[in-house]
Amino acid sequence: MMELFEMMLTTGLWASVIRIATPLIFATLGELICERAGVLNLGIEGIMTIGAMAGWIWVYQGGDLWGGIVFAAIVGMIFGFLHSLLVVYLGVSQHVSGIGITLLASSISYYAYTLLIPFSTTPPKIVPFSVFEIPILSSIPVIGQALFHQSALTYLSYILVGVTFFVLHKMPIGLTIRMAGENPVANEAQGINVLLIRTGAVMAGSALMAIGGAFLTMSAFDAFYFGMINGRGWICVALVIFASWKPGKAFLGAILFALFEALQIRAQLIGADVIPYQIFSMMPYFLSILAMMLVARKATYPKALLIPFRQGDRI
């Protein structure tokens, strides 16, 4: 127990917490924006995969790092648009379409990767985003080095938490997005095009998901692997509920999950002789389920989530 407590105070642990959390922050914010507009986007897992692939390939082919991020975001938006086409305009079940998007986007990623990259036993690597320190802030004890000795993408994720909050809660456009998820008829009664608002939100959210995926290949692992998203997208769907659709809480939720994850990696090293390591890898998910049971029971869903809206559907 003491050991665990001491570990909690090390900068090394928190630095890895932030690294694990960054892609989750991007993708959770993305999912949050979609759901605030009333659209569940289960394409998240696939969109993260294709974002990871697209960003990486851009750099591997000689493009610049930020160009790779923009490329990943655009690819994400294309799949977001495909999802909106199906669920917003055609009113297809959001679950079915989302899972379809995930399967399609992941398969395309692997296919493109095998086509473009010659087979080798060690996947080729790129030069990732470099770490840079933010002066002053990084000298705060323990968390200073963890929070502010990271790559630019991580800083971008912090900023996006604030931006998402500002857009959703302070700007007129955010009010219409939230209204699209609560009572789209109210939007229509004010002459606002619900379908357009929903499509825009899904595309913007999907771009963030793709950037979350790109973080993995462009800042964390430097290479693209098969199955590298490994359920992170699904975790983000749960995190949105955990966060009650609030950006600040989504940030905290991502950090919490990342803490479980970082702790279990360390626990594996310590206790692997006694307990099979699979038990430890299971822990974050187990703890997330527990956390969900405590928090999410009282969650108030956006009222129009999952409900297709058809123009002229009358009141």
């Binding site: 700007m171 955010g174 609560e182 009572n183 939007n187 002459g191 606002i192 009222k303 002229g312 009358r314």
Partner: protein
């Protein structure tokens, strides 16, 4: 110049003509009532006005300027505000957020809530519509939600206000307040169009009345020349007779509720210590605003829920066994609130729906359905209750609301029940069907049944009931003899503002 002018509006959906050459106008500073039954074309006309539909022919002018068809924005910009029957509000957002939605350009960087706040305060004081701008919509009462809808229209500087069945959800006192507010608005220069099928209100509030029937404009009268009877006749197209009230000597108790409580699931109201006795040959009217425990009480009496505590006696015997089939077999007839979902199975044929409640007693050797017999008895009931359909094999889904209700009545009343639980039996029906349904209930009473009539329509309650009870927040007051209370007192009890002992001890 007319404030608002509809000219020769025509609109059909397939072969159904919803609006047939309708021309009408709204003058400045008047309250015009639009009267008509369900399906008369009122809603279609309003949807055309708001650009949700485009009319096949005809046009609309606001202050002499033609209104662009098919554009909600254009109608709002022309100064038309609409208070929908089903509120277009978001429960999880605040009053202020609901009101400013769409009033700011979407490209604006920072929502200017402070100014909105001030304007909102001003409006609510000026028109006597008090509301807390920071409250969540979910925490408001129905009356307050409507206030938000009205302020929403005023906030957009509407000079024409359209209210679609605004009193359907209000208590009599709330309605009264609304009328006062509306009259104040007219004085301030607004023009109001009031859509309703409640004759009393229309006579009270409006300056002029136009009547729609089957998509056609069939009459226009100044309110001072109109009477309830003449309006009803215009609306329905023939004379409407309401069942006559007759007091009978009441018999034995059929249902006794002693200290019955029900811990309700989330989202509905719990019942606490209900005491109520219903006798043979009497109708007890249960008045109350929806959501005050009627659903819980009805589900207990239909056998769908068992009380958490207390005693329920049915026909003099303590009831230990619940379950709808047991209750139906012992002589309880049910007219459920949600007739299309709870009352019938739409995908099944009419004869199958007749059979639904007596599957066991009408089957051969308890195993096979005697289809021949079932179909022929369905045929008989269809004739007897005048259910308009193609025959016993027609799909139930295709029936109109009134005919579905007749089917339910035929099914439950033909077995001469001893107790009838009628939950809003006339809601949403047109005048003709209402008088039929009410007559059937009165006939059942004459034959000896006890009836619990749950309704939000106080006119209906007062016309039919021998005694009246009021439900508020899961508690019952009364019952009182119906000639010893008035509509005003019942209204106050419905909103929890009056306690029964101030009337008389029962």
């Amino acid at each position: 110049m007319k404030k608002l002018q509809f000219s020769e509006i025509c609109k059909s959906f397939g072969s159904v003509v919803a609006n047939d050459n309708i021309s009408l106008s709204l003058d400045e500073g008047e309250i015009l009532s639009l009267l008509g039954e369900n399906g008369a074309g009122k809603t279609t006309l309003m949807n055309i006005l708001f650009g949700h539909y485009v009319s096949d022919k005809g046009f609309i002018e606001v202050e002499g300027k033609k209104l662009a068809p098919g554009s909600t924005r254009a109608s709002l910009d022309a100064g038309i505000g609409m208070v929908h029957q089903h509120f277009t509000l978001a429960d999880n957002l605040t009053v202020l957020e609901n009101i400013i939605l769409g009033t700011e350009p979407l490209t604006r960087f920072w929502s200017q809530k402070k100014q909105a706040y001030i304007k909102l305060q001003e409006l609510s004081e000026r028109f006597g519509l008090l509301i807390n701008p920071d409250a969540r919509i979910a925490d408001l009462t129905v009356g307050e939600k409507q206030r938000v809808e009205i302020i929403k229209a005023l906030y957009r500087d509407a000079s024409i206000l359209i209210l679609d069945e605004p009193t359907a959800v209000l208590t009599p006192q709330e309605s009264e307040h609304l009328f006062k507010v509306l009259k104040g608005m007219v004085k301030a220069g607004l023009s109001i169009m009031f859509i309703s099928h409640k004759l009393n209100e229309i006579l009270e509030i409006s300056d002029r009345i136009v009547v729609l029937r089957h998509g056609k404009l069939v009459g226009e009268v100044a309110t001072k020349n109109a009477s309830k009877e003449s309006l009803a006749e215009m609306m329905v197209g023939r004379k409407v007779t309401r069942p006559a009230y007759e007091k009978l000597k009441k018999g034995k108790a059929v249902v006794e509720l002693n200290d019955v409580s029900l811990n309700a699931k989330e989202g509905s109201t719990s019942l606490s210590n209900i005491n109520l006795t219903i006798h043979e040959k009497e109708i007890i009217g249960l008045a109350g605003v929806a959501g005050n425990g009627q659903a819980g009480l009805a589900s207990i009496l239909q056998g769908l829920a068992s009380p958490s505590s207390g005693e329920l006696k049915l026909f003099g015997e303590r009831l230990n066994k619940y379950g709808p089939s047991y209750l139906t077999e012992s002589g309880v007839a049910r007219i459920p609130e949600d007739r299309t979902n709870e009352g019938v199975i739409g995908e099944m044929e009419i004869w199958e729906n007749f059979l639904g409640e007596e599957l066991r007693s009408k089957s051969k050797s308890g195993f096979f359905i005697d289809k021949k017999q079932a179909v022929s008895s369905a045929e008989k009931l269809i004739k007897e209750y005048d259910i308009r359909c193609e025959g016993p094999h027609a799909s139930t889904r295709l029936l109109s609301g009134g005919n579905i209700q007749k089917l339910i009545l035929a099914r439950s009343l033909s077995n001469n029940p001893r107790f009838i639980i009628a939950n809003k039996p006339a809601r949403g029906l047109d005048e003709g069907a209402i008088s039929f349904v009410q007559q059937q209930i009165v006939n059942a009473k004459t034959k000896g049944a006890g009836v619990l009539l749950i309704s939000e329509d106080l006119d209906e309650i007062f016309e039919l009931s021998d005694r009246i009870a009021v439900i508020f927040d899961g508690k019952i007051q009364g019952p009182f003899d119906s000639n010893k209370v008035n509509i005003n007192q019942v209204g106050l009890m419905m909103s929890g503002e009056m306690k029964q002992n101030s009337i008389y001890e029962n």
